[in-house]
Symmetry: C2
Subunit: 434 residues, 2 copies
């Protein structure tokens, strides 16, 4: 039987799609490099308990888990942070802190595939381990924003919405929420941007057991149009003031890092309840047409849970799927496949050897060079060069071999330049190495 | 509980190991680019039948296969060629032939892990689909050899051993091997380089059912010291002459491609019996200390078997594990992790903002720049810069801010250069962008 499709939810990357993926990966790697982050990687297959210990057995329903031939409970990795925690924890003593690491793992979830939902994606993970100060929080968001800038996006295209779990806690306690109802209140607040006010009020009353006064107070928090307004209102409240000061410092650092215009305060950003412990953020397209492009924050407890080593940590994940949609919408993806540098056309059989030697010379000089792998007419070879989008064509016939000179034709402009065969591939006026 | 190790047979890539991996991948991609090959990728998880249809159920014992939550029989990919065949077959009508594709998949086998044997590795796959001529065979081997050259290896380090299944068949038929015993004879010959002559003779007699005269004839084939000697002996034998001529042309093309010294004829190279149909090769270290670094050849039947589309094809796989051992033995791997460009030292709290703005300027200009994420003494910051191997250190105190000038210290030479803060990161005599 013949098999011509991949599993549902899995992508084939033909060269055109791979070129777009490489374009995104290159920007991710370049942003990480400029911020001094080093690349690491872990195994795509991990022990199942690496995830269940943290998230409980609930998560197993969404995993590609199975029993391997040695009877081990294993799973394709659904996220990278537990691997990071495992690896950093295992060498915590010898690694220089703060650890600045990034990775581009492929991740897997067994999700229902309706609406073209994928079961795999690539996710850029950037993390700082071993630093509790707010400067690290600003640095981590800046590297995410740097990648957007490298991809051609601006503060007009995307916005980072930031909150701080510690500030929210202080504000809610001040509003009269009992400490043991905080989690339920967070869960209701998490729905603020998606549900109507009366639904949230209802949740706060029923699920968090709050009275009308506390609920009114909560809604006064979210009524502030910006961080300055909130700060003016709460700067004298003990417990809240320190949290406001820290978040204010954070916005100041992001300004010095050149990303002030990209960031906004949004106390409705809550994110994973059992996971994050400080500043959290999500990046969205300004038009609001897509899901979050990126999300992250501080998770100071996780390393201890996974590896037994207590180290503060923070980071983010940015997937390739939503980012790619956004870049496609803005026409910021490379069009088509990368084009070659040289196509060498042999007029007849005797020139095929010369063409191979010329290709070798060009390749040794760092150019890409191809030629027809079978005997073919000049017209067919030109057509092939055109179809493959090669930039320059060189025709080699008996005259060229006799004179030792060839004409290099630029396929875009049609301009021709005469070059000695021995100096082909050396930098010339028209020939620029890609 | 705490989890600090990966599954047996799976590697963690800490930044130092990842840097070595990236070095190898970069050479693979660069060699492919120079030869005009385009990158593709497929899913790490594929339908099980993609492999069992070709290799039979035998292979299942070595696979990471399982039943997914939708009841599908799936497996982590053990090799890339079936995915290539599936993808090329699915778009055979629209893709320009010959297809020149490469990929760097991670592959999985459930092997016993004694002697540090791995259950995953990365493998560079390079293939040409849709070309039956011998020039394609030469081109495919040349791209493999190009990667060794880019990694600093020469014809003194590695050798490609080449044979042709069609030539071997013709020689064996001429030696008196009946057509229905060819497979058994191949299987015995495949052991020639590992077992003694009398063991092979025994196998040829018992397993292939050959008489003493045929066996003597076979050993005369392998007694020839090189391709020229074999050609002189058999050039007039009908059926053999054509095969010799084709392989002679192949060696000639490899000479024109600059790789003549890297290639040798070795009729003992047989490779996968059910798979290869023409020229086959394996690349070894000349010292003979390691397993094959690379292997491949022509497999003209596979595309039809997998996708139902009949197209000739050829290619090779080169794993990262043996290659890495070879490069380590020859001291050709990058030492340590990539070093950063700039470390900015803030003398006091007021300069921390200036340092962040300077880092932003440097990063925008394409440099990597880091600074301490917490307040620290100048000595501690210098020590951190040193420990991280950063190339240049800039100290920023009140005097530097007042004068608008800083000293850029090259950490390797100790040389200092005074630069205006606004022109930091512009190309200067000592500062070269990596």
């Amino acid at each position: 039987m013949s098999i011509t499709t991949s599993l549902p939810g899995f992508r084939d990357f033909y060269p055109r799609e791979l070129a777009a993926r490489s374009h995104i990966f290159a920007a991710w790697r370049e942003a990480a490099r400029r911020f001094g982050f080093e690349e690491y990687d872990g195994p795509p297959l991990e022990p199942l308990e690496l995830y269940t210990d943290k998230s409980g057995d609930e998560i197993v329903r969404q995993l590609y888990n199975f029993e391997d031939k040695g009877g081990r409970a294993v799973t394709l990795r659904p996220e990278m942070t537990p691997t990071l925690a495992r690896m950093a924890g295992a060498r915590a003593g010898e690694l220089r802190k703060p650890i600045r690491w990034f990775s581009i793992p492929q991740l897997y979830r067994y999700e229902r595939t309706q609406r073209g939902r994928l079961r795999e994606h690539f996710q850029w993970n950037v993390d700082v381990v071993g630093e509790e100060g707010v400067a690290a929080d600003a640095e981590i968001l800046a590297v995410a924003l740097q990648s957007f800038q490298l991809l051609g996006l601006s503060a007009q295209d995307v916005v980072a919405r930031v909150s701080d779990r510690r500030l929210l806690e202080a504000l809610l306690l001040h509003a009269g929420v009992p400490a043991d109802r905080l989690m339920a209140a967070y869960a209701a607040i998490d729905k603020l941007s998606r549900e109507e006010e009366r639904v949230i009020r209802d949740r706060l009353a029923k699920e968090a057991g709050l009275g009308a006064a506390a609920i009114d107070q909560i809604f006064r928090i979210f009524a502030h149009p910006d961080f300055e307004s909130l700060t003016a209102a709460y700067r004298d409240v003990p417990g809240v003031a320190e949290e406001l000061a820290r978040l204010g410092e954070y916005f100041g650092i992001l300004g010095a890092l050149g990303f002030g215009a990209w960031v906004t305060f949004d106390p409705r950003i809550v994110r994973g309840l059992a996971y994050y412990t400080g500043i959290v953020f999500e990046v969205f397209d300004r038009k609001g047409e897509l899901r979050a492009v990126c999300g992250g924050g501080r998770y100071d407890q996780l390393l201890e849970q996974v590896s037994g080593v207590s180290l503060p940590a923070l980071g983010f994940g940015m997937g390739d799927v939503v980012l790619r949609e956004l870049l496609a919408d803005r026409e910021l993806l490379p069009s088509g496949e990368p084009a070659g540098d040289y196509y060498l056309v042999a007029v007849g059989e005797p020139e095929r050897r010369v063409v191979r030697e010329m290709a070798t010379r060009l390749r040794r000089a760092g150019w890409s060079a191809i030629y027809s792998l079978r005997a073919a007419g000049v017209k067919a070879q030109f057509k092939d060069a055109n179809a493959r989008g090669v930039r320059r064509v060189v025709v080699v016939g008996p005259d060229e071999v006799a004179s030792g000179q060839v004409a290099v034709r630029d396929m875009a402009s049609g301009a021709e330049e005469r070059v000695r065969i021995e100096s082909l591939g050396e930098a010339t006026a028209t020939a620029q190495r890609r």
